[in-house]
Amino acid sequence: MADATCAGCGCLCDDIVATVAGGRLEVSGTCALGDAWFADRAAGPVARLDGREASLDEAADAAAEILRNARAPLVYGLGRTSNEAQRRAVALAEAAGAIVDPARSGEAGLAFQAIGSSTATFGEIRDRAEVVVCWRADPVAANPRLLGRLRLDRTARGSRSLVVVDAQHTATAAEADAFVALEAAQDFEALWALRALVAGAPLDGDGAAGLPLDGLGDLAQRMRGARHVAILHSGGAELDALALLWLVRDLARDRHAVSLGLRRDGNAQGAEDVLAAQTGFPTAVSFARGHPRANPGELSAAALLARGEVDAALVIASDPLADLPHDAAQRLRDLPTVVIDARETATAQAARVAFAPAVDGIEVAGTAHRMDGVPVPLHALLASDRPAAADVLAAIAERL
């Protein structure tokens, strides 16, 4: 029996028990996402070139050539690999003069840069938050063990309350004390109205028209009555994220208040942390001019692809063909692409060069950052003949 960390989502549950018998891995303590994560490993060759099996050297040569010949290569993904691989990826991006953008980094970072935020680790929210709001976040589906880890299961939460605000009555809403139905386009107005309600200010009738004022009023009352409030969210557009951070800042005047962005990819937080440490910017960083330059929006992967402004891509542990908006994905399909991913993906299938390295957290030890920023060790539970993603990145970098 060995300790294991599941990197199936940003919860990074480190209480998983692993047993290896006859080369087979058994895990217990996982959720359904975790079971899928532990089971999902590429079975094909370590390296492929134009769909056929290739040697590592051959593939690394080809990958380096693609990056060398590109004028504006994109390095994308990073959220499903270790901090150690991420460090290598940023170094490689710098050497290649590339643009690096973590997958699904979104626009919430811009809101953070405008006003900052108040946040907390799991243990703080678990032990202190009296009212927890899931704002357009559905952890029961996306981070299945999160409610349990925050002691928010109905049977465990006692007098603490859980409120869900979302367009649909989600799986998390089914666990909540209250649900407020809110159209997706109404975030900003609703959050701004909550700011007023929390401050006890009257609402302007026109601006508030169409908002679920009963539900929002009840939510405001709950938050006003609490000594400690936490809002869990899933990023969102810049202005919506800004409104949410302002609401928390308002709340924090008279009580403790924090927010936490939920992350789907196991080490999405680490990707932004590593990029920020090395460059000073968490997302959308271009090394084209020999130094880091960041401009989320302009330099975000989806926008660059849609505008046809990149001419090659290195995708690390991510499946942009499945995840990116359609027009960006179509552009990507036409670019010379290198994929380094321990999982078989649509993007890897379509890539000119594809590496299937050992899996970080199953076959390779490392570090990852939980969605609340806490660094957690990833363990090597199984031996593997495959190189680590970090080693593949180093091999490509050597050839540049």
Partner: protein, 543 residues
Amino acid sequence: MLRITRGRVYDPANRIAGEVRDVCVQDGRIVDDVPAHARTIDARGMVVMPGGVDIHAHIAGPKVNAARKLLPDEHRADVVDRTAIARSGTGGTVPSTFTTGYRYALLGYTTVVEAATPPLAARQTLAELRDTPVIDALFLILMGNNLALFELIRSEPARVREAIAWWLQATGGYGVKLVNPGGVEMWKRDNGNVTSLDDEGPGVTPRQVIETIATAVHDLGLPHPVHVHCNNLGVPGNWRTTLDTLRTLDGRRAHLAHLQFHAYGGRVGGRPRSRAPELADYLNSHPELSADVGQVMFGPATTMTADAPVSAVLRDITHGRWVNADTEVETGCGIVPFTYRERNYVHALQWGIGLELFLLSRDPWRLVLSTDHPNGGSFLSYPRLIRLLMDRDFRNEQIGRVNQQAMRRTVLRDDLDREYTLEEIAIITRAGPARLLGLADKGHLGVGADADITIYDDREDREEMFSAPRYVIKDGVAVVEDGELRAARQGRLLRVGADYDTSIEPALEALFEDRYSVQFSSYPVREPWLLEPARTVAARGGP
């Protein structure tokens, strides 16, 4: 091999003050002599000192990285290109990792203390320090608001010593830091704080925390004594809390961080005044105590602290960007970008109090230079601070420019004629900090010491002189020549080695169980790539 010839050498630890002599280097160490074919640096007209040692700065870890993310404006305005030997990066008051290492090296500093790491986040600090080239680095772990430790202080204070040793070994840390003991815990509960050392809110009083942990650190014989950021930082009248803290230490060794921020008279809610003379007196007469100043420098800064309630106060002054980040069991964190202005009464008073502390100190070995980077200003402002201390005319001119009401509250207008000598500067920027940290191989140029050496052109304008050393040698390698970065190797981690009775582990595991959200087994850092290369400095052990 290297011979530095004919420079004027300032090596206060070996009582060398401006003597013209050779310094020889072999295999990364200072040696008596080297063969004639060794490379020679002709240091005629130059000043030779040990490499600088920064005893209190914030350069790595979650708090620093959150500030990096918060400051794209600063980073856009200060970019650093990739070169054949150096990684690219960005600067400003909170530079990226690589840039932090290069800029410290270019300033002649070779050892830096990261002064406040939540032990839970040690992996992040370690990873960032690996990416901070050239300098050797060490970090202090935050233990002043740790709920598991509070429980042990209540129930089994005798075992706190073992627990502290365990925590240091689990993290790779070097020493123990207390930040507003008890107060940060109250902040995380419901925006509270403590106001006196006898506040019982946290379940233990700040006094109990200070006494118990100072005793534990003393008994362990750690090379650096407990490093204390006192309660009531920034609050008018807080000098009484500071004195109370010092009296509570009662003969135990301790280092007070950024004393300037804790030296205010006046009444809560009113205007602060200077109590620097009283604190300087107390420090002068208590040889077991030391402090760094935490000088405020006019211009941009970024305040970042585990003392989160202070950041909320600053938020309400600037109405600008504010970060709060609570770490379970252990600490808080607050970040507020800040600009110190000459005409502002409070800022000018803070600036003046820092200078008073420097000028009234009688023992440079125990009152050393810091700006609490980047809280009082960037480490890049050290050369200007050195000029303020060395050049009385320059200082008086500056005193004449700033808020005069504030200056009237200090003794600076009494024309304090003291000018720091080069020897004293060498003490407060390298020899003193190294000694206070218990780093026997740092901060001096005696045979066997690390060959970390800085060579300056001897220029009348001390700010220019200290801004751009001519040569910087790290572990015997010339990393800076003619003011340019020439090599950028990885520095090492300096960590402490402290033995503990392993029977503390099950006790700690029980205390962890319901408090942390990570497993006890996940907590200790074991990854060799995070911990190496390192040098372990052994605790003396035993009381």
